[in-house]
Symmetry: C2
Subunit: 430 residues, 2 copies
């Protein structure tokens, strides 16, 4: 609570500095001391239900439930992904943060503001307002915790060390990794996905605001896909290399597959993560100018699929199961040995739920080319048996490596969902 008052004080001092004269005039009170007194009562960050701003129920994805949204949810048009570092050293403040976040996220998911849109003379409005009047836009908010929340610089920061899963450790360094601090790691993550970027931004911004004094932004990355409106047929979206991306994925309607590949199961590790999932994030730059100078044939051999319809080479239909044995007249495999499809598929037993978005961050100042690529997000039950062995194969000999570079990386345990009344993280912190 001390911290909370501190940040309110700071906020009021700031606003007092820049607008004291007006405020005092209007409020008709005698000095900053009185203002501070007033804020002690108000509770800047107390979250309560605000005025609804949803235009309908049709684009609302329920926040509460057995699992968090944004994992098996049909991919929305945009993602706003942020990694945060915890700045408080008190466990109860982290708990308070997750409680406040839970309530706020539930409101946001319904297209509601995180608190009153109006405000009194002394305090900033509780909601930042830019999503006022907008629909929920299928917003999902997914929270995760990184390895460094448990142990950092050999410190058991919050007494959670014995709860850290063996699977929740920094990823190994893969050959060719060119990671930068600026997009790597983090104690916590928030993945906000929505069909409207302003709605996703609003969510993240207000959640970070609530974290004031407890956690700060570490890195942020937006991503996009073709919109549903531009592709009413809802084909598999294409990545920035022009290929259909997301064809082979566990079936999100098939509970058995999800329990096998995506949701952490009892006995996998500490029980607090059961019904949660591990998220691996990779910010992968794609050298589109280089790609654009290669032939279609070369491109298709790189992926092992046709660009036009997404079918595996030598086959007809996008969704046909791969025939990895089929050879052409020259006795070569249709799907080359160093192709991305063959290598990522492996023997087919390691499956991850990919939920990637494209990104485009203006120009890469170093090279003068686009800084564009894939914000690769994938969910899984056991990283050491899924993402890691797949990426080991890819890093070793994927033909795609000539055209991409891994620039950022992080791993998070995405917490199980909660029912109304509970809070995200309760199984971990209790």
């Amino acid at each position: 609570m001390t911290k909370n008052i501190n940040s309110q004080e700071e906020a009021v001092l700031h606003q007092a500095k820049i607008s004291r004269r007006n405020m005092l005039k209007t409020a008709g009170v005698g000095g900053v001391g009185v203002l501070l007194g007033a804020t002690g009562l108000g509770g800047l960050l107390t979250i309560k239900e605000g005025k609804a701003n949803s235009t309908g129920k049709k684009d609302i994805i329920p926040f509460y439930g057995n699992h968090q949204g944004g994992i098996t949810t049909k991919t929305q048009n945009h993602v706003y992904f942020v990694s945060l570092d915890v700045t408080t050293s008190k466990k109860e403040e982290v708990v308070k943060l997750f409680k406040d976040w839970t309530i706020a996220a539930a409101l946001l998911s319904e297209g509601k503001p995180v608190g009153d849109l109006s405000s009194n003379e002394f305090l900033p409005p509780k909601d930042t307002g830019e999503a006022e009047g907008l629909s929920a836009s299928n917003l999902t908010i997914t929270f995760g915790v990184g390895p460094s929340l448990f142990v950092k610089d050999n410190q058991d920061r919050f007494g959670l060390k014995q709860k850290q899963p063996n699977e929740l450790v920094d990823l190994p360094k893969f050959p060719l990794d060119a990671l930068e601090e600026a997009w790597t790691g983090g104690d916590l993550c928030i993945q906000a996905c929505a069909d409207d970027l302003q709605v996703a931004f609003h969510a993240v911004r207000n959640l970070i605001r609530i974290a004031r004094g407890k956690a700060i932004l570490r890195w942020a990355q937006t991503g996009f896909q073709r919109t549903k409106q531009a592709d009413p047929g809802q084909g598999t979206p294409r990545n920035l290399f022009g290929f259909k991306d997301g064809t082979i994925n566990p079936d999100v309607k098939n509970e058995k597959q999800l329990n096998e590949h995506v949701w952490v199961q009892p006995g996998d590790g500490p029980n607090w993560l059961v019904n949660g999932s591990y998220l691996v994030v990779r910010r992968i730059q794609m050298f589109i100018e280089v790609w654009d100078r290669t032939t279609l044939k070369e491109q298709e051999k790189t992926f092992g699929r046709y660009r036009d319809n997404g079918a595996p080479l030598g086959q007809k239909d996008e969704f046909e199961s791969l025939d990895l044995k089929q050879k052409n007249d020259q006795g070569e495999f249709y799907i080359p040995v160093d192709s991305h499809t063959r290598l990522s598929h492996g023997d087919g037993s390691q499956r991850i739920l990919r939920r990637a978005y494209s990104y485009s961050d203006g120009m890469d100042a170093k090279t003068g080319s686009f800084d564009a690529g894939l914000l690769f997000l994938c969910f899984q039950r056991t990283p050491s048996k899924q993402f890691i062995p797949i990426q080991e194969r890819l890093a070793k000999m994927d033909k795609l490596n000539e055209y991409i570079s891994h620039r950022g990386s992080a791993i998070f345990a995405c917490l199980p969902g909660v029912n109304q009344g509970g809070y995200i993280g309760e199984t971990l912190f209790n």
Copy 2:
């Protein structure tokens, strides 16, 4: 033409290097020499009509016409803005570029690829493919030329010096400007707006690809607004400070107003720009964390409008004309003397067509806060009588300056539109 062949050569050499073995095998030919010979015939960048990929006519904005699109066009959901520098020293190559761009832009505006999606053994596909299957998404492409296209380092680069309008000169340095090279200036610009970011990106990428050997990327900036889907009522969009932004603007349906404030008229300057318009771009960072710590009252006094409904302070309706004389009980103007609305309005005679988008570029590494703000785009007939005097007033005493910082700036003359058969820029280059 020489240059063109050079870039083809380069492309082929590159692809030969990385995939020669495969290519030769497949093609069954004897060496790189043959490949080069082949490309000499093909014409990598010859644009011709490709297979349609539009799903319908409803979201197509015609490319040809008296004026370019993207100026009076209803603001789309996304913008992809790029500034380019010309690298060739030959005027005929610049002319060729604009001719190729015109044909490509007309195709793109109809949701079509810029050339065959398939390719032969030797050449990259003409279109990069990521918009295949997507609708036109109301794409508009707007081309402009900057002061440095005419004269750079005191050089009359293309013999156009005597055609440079007095109005097309670098903007003066305004007080508080904190411009960075990374978002400033440029010989040419392309503003691609669409309801789908992937469609806008695809357009810009393919246009830049066509420019290979003639012009290169200087800087790029994406922007967004709330989508039409999230706001079916189509109210004025809100900026990242939560306020309605775009209320007062010339009426794009009113030809008289447009001729007065937006379109360059005969006699204004050189005739080649008649029916064109000057674009001023400012990349303005908004310190949202600071803003979020101020009271609603303070925020409303900063703009001189209510956040909730956008009405001027002391008034009821968003679209009421400003009452700048009205005072409150304390004898103060409702719309403060240092408020953004009062200062930008001035005496109401200087009007610009604002067409701004929000941007959000992850974290500002220097401060740890969001790098977010406004990509301010405005069109006008005479910058010296419109943007410049307005910005002089704002820079001097706008209360908003406590929360923003101008980080990038450029000015371009957006060329008049053309009819089918003509090319963008023909009035300038002929």
